[in-house]
Amino acid sequence: MKHTLSILLQNESGALVRVAGLFAARHCNIDTLTVAATHDPGVSQITLVMHGDANTLEQILRQLRKLVDVLDANSLSLVGSRGDARLAVALPA
């Protein structure tokens, strides 16, 4: 199942590599990845699409939240009730 993740990240040297590296190290494929500035120049937003089962998603979110630069990490597909995947499709990737 596809999941869209929103990750808020401190703009630090190597921060993007650490996020991408986490996916690689935990054998989880990134389908698409977009990095955008936010209104705060010190903070970037990553929108990322991955696929995996519920356990994989839960574990990758928990591991993301252990990265020091990560301010917040959430699955947009979980924002809707009962993990509505259609919501993810509606978002710009």
Partner: protein
């Protein structure tokens, strides 16, 4: 102040007294600042304020810092130069990450103007270490150096501890800076999550649910991991067990979390755990996992681990470990000592009294019937007998480090562990070569303690250069090498699963004279023990040496580590070997076709 002086001042402020490291071009300003700091801060006892311990190889420095941290609970510090200095530190950093050891590694780096130019001794340290460490900082703005270093210590020791690498370009070390004394980096995400975890408290409802499950259970068992030691929760665990009488088994990393001589202690569980601990796991109907993570050496087949446990509870400081391997029925994320104290208080005020007499009798019987044992009749010196003899002198008080392999498992099985931080071993990474440098670091942390490196001939070769470090610093370290002329653990697997084809593990033609090597490095006492009847007297002499001592023991090359829960096997399929009673007929070993490791 120069950037280098800022580095040294922060180290001093953070309470460092020993630094482990090897110099080089890109870290010279920091080494010079340490030299000047020590000259300007003489101590009454003549010792240097920031003692700099120089290894033979940077990997040694990393493991020394790790041994220092594991034995003391303080942050271990390693300082190395750029390029090869930093890459030689990769293994100890990953090892510290895997075993949750607080460390700060400071690496010199080429100046910012040369970054990315393939300069001499340049390596992409932040990329390499980013995949290995808890966190990496590359300091490109000199004015952030002080805050970065202080924050590195905070990250290393807080939450689930781990190693933090600070990569400092040489121009940042030379920059002129104003010392602030308190500044930190904001790291808002990390701090917010940490605060939430550290302030998490068990409410009455959660306590009630756990005690309801315990009251229902007839055979509850505590499965305690390294988190008990890292979280300074050993005394809270002891109070909990004294109050409610739940027996305890510990992981390899948890040895010392609960006195192994206690009647309710089952020693270690897992692949090479005691048979009685593993049978107790099979028999238990309720499992409390405390600072333990159902690692594959413990729960090789998670769905068949503790198969009769109808209730599993887990407490950990790391939210990612909850239910990662095995689903749990009750969970708490927070500091373990606080949680255990709270549970004990709740249980006592609510008059909880568990009726576990039958279970205690069962546990005592398991310990009697399936005690560890080995080939006592053989003419060869058995490795277990060597550990047994050392243990009789040490009586649970020695600080013991090991390499990786059979000797590590024999040491884990046959030593008594009375207190936390007396057992230093590379558990998760399983890094051969860990033992000697870790023991050196531990001896600096505990100058008056009996520190023993129990090593194997294969493992000690990997960092043999550090023998000289022992004598350079006059450490009273005891090094014992159990020599079975090969890589015994791999050989054991080849025997079991690869038809006795000992590819690359037989070292009977190797010519190394370990005693001469130790003598060459300045060991005043170095001996080889070959005769069984001399075992007791030689061990006594070895351990009573005032200075550094080196003992090589020629052990039975065919001695195996048992019990053994083979790769991909369940506890029910445990093989106890020839000398330990099994309660089932031994299962046939599966062939080399398994992917389990």
């Amino acid at each position: 102040m120069s950037g280098a002086e800022v580095v040294v001042q922060v180290l001093a402020d953070e309470g460092c007294d020993v630094l482990f490291g090897y110099s080089g071009g890109a870290i010279l300003p920091v080494y010079d600042a340490v030299f000047r700091y020590n000259a300007e801060h003489p101590r009454d006892d003549g010792r240097e304020a920031l003692l700099l311990v120089v290894p033979a190889n940077e990997q040694g420095a990393g493991f020394m810092a790790s041994g220092y941290a594991r034995a003391s609970g303080k942050v271990g510090v390693a300082i190395v130069t750029s390029g090869p200095g930093a890459t030689n530190l990769v293994t100890p950093i990953r090892d510290a990450m895997a075993d949750s050891v607080p460390m700060v590694a400071i690496c010199g780096q080429v100046p910012t103007s040369s970054l990315g130019s393939d300069a001499f001794q340049e390596a992409p340290v932040s990329n390499i270490m980013g995949a290995c460490a808890k966190h990496v900082f590359l300091v490109t703005e000199p004015e952030r150096l002080e805050a970065t270093l202080r924050t590195a210590f905070e990250i290393a020791r807080s939450g689930r501890p781990g190693p933090v690498v600070v990569d400092i370009p040489k121009n940042v070390q030379n920059a002129k800076l104003r010392f602030d004394g308190v500044c930190c980096l904001p790291i808002p995400g990390y701090r917010a999550r940490l605060r939430q975890i550290e302030h998490a408290r068990l409410d009455d409802d959660a306590c009630a649910r756990l005690f309801a499950a315990l009251a229902q259970a007839k055979r509850p068992l505590v499965y305690a991991g390294g988190g008990v030691i890292k979280g300074d929760a050993a005394s809270a665990l002891r109070t909990f067990v004294d109050a409610f009488g739940v027996p305890v088994t510990t992981t390899l990393m948890g040895l010392g979390a609960f006195d192994t001589r206690h009647p309710l202690a089952l020693h270690m569980l897992g692949m090479h755990g005691t048979a009685y601990a593993n049978y107790a796991v099979e028999d238990c109907d309720c499992l409390l996992a405390l600072g333990a993570r159902f690692d594959d050496r413990v729960a090789g087949v998670p769905e068949k681990f503790a198969p009769h446990a109808t209730f599993i509870a887990q407490i950990d400081i790391d939210p990612a470990e909850i239910g990662k391997v095995k689903p749990v029925d009750w969970q708490h994320v927070g500091p373990l000592s606080v949680a255990l104290d709270r549970l004990t208080r709740y249980g006592k005020t609510h008059g909880v009294a568990l009726k576990l007499d039958d279970w205690h009798a069962h546990v005592a019987q398991l310990k009697r019937d399936h005690a560890l044992d080995y080939d006592r009749a053989s003419n060869w010196i058995q490795p277990q007998a060597v550990i047994d003899a050392i243990n009789r002198h040490a009586r649970g008080r020695a600080v013991v480090s090991t390499g990786v392999g059979q000797h590590q498992m024999w040491a884990a099985q046959y030593f008594d562990f009375a207190e936390p931080r007396h057992w230093l071993t590379s558990g998760s990474m399983g890094t051969m070569g860990f033992g000697l440098p870790a023991a050196i670091g531990a001896q600096f942390a505990r100058p008056d303690a009996l520190v023993i490196d129990v090593d194997g001939d294969g493992s000690i070769r990997m960092n043999l250069g550090e023998l000289e470090t022992v004598t350079t610093y006059g450490l009273p370290l005891k090094v014992v090498v159990l020599n079975n002329r090969g890589d015994g653990m791999v050989r054991q697997w080849q025997k079991l699963y690869f038809g006795h084809r000992f590819a690359a593990t037989d070292k009977s033609l190797h010519r190394k004279d370990f005693v001469k090597a130790a003598e060459a490095d300045g060991f005043g006492w170095a001996r080889r023990l070959e005769r069984k009847e001399e075992l007791e007297s030689v061990i006594a002499e070895f351990l009573s040496c005032k200075g550094p001592a080196f003992l090589e023991v020629a052990i039975d090359p065919d001695a195996g580590v048992f019990p053994m829960v083979g790769p991909g096997a369940t506890y029910a399929q445990m093989v106890t070997g020839e000398f330990i009673a099994s309660r089932t007929a031994p299962a046939r070993a599966e062939g080399a076709t398994t992917d389990m490791f």
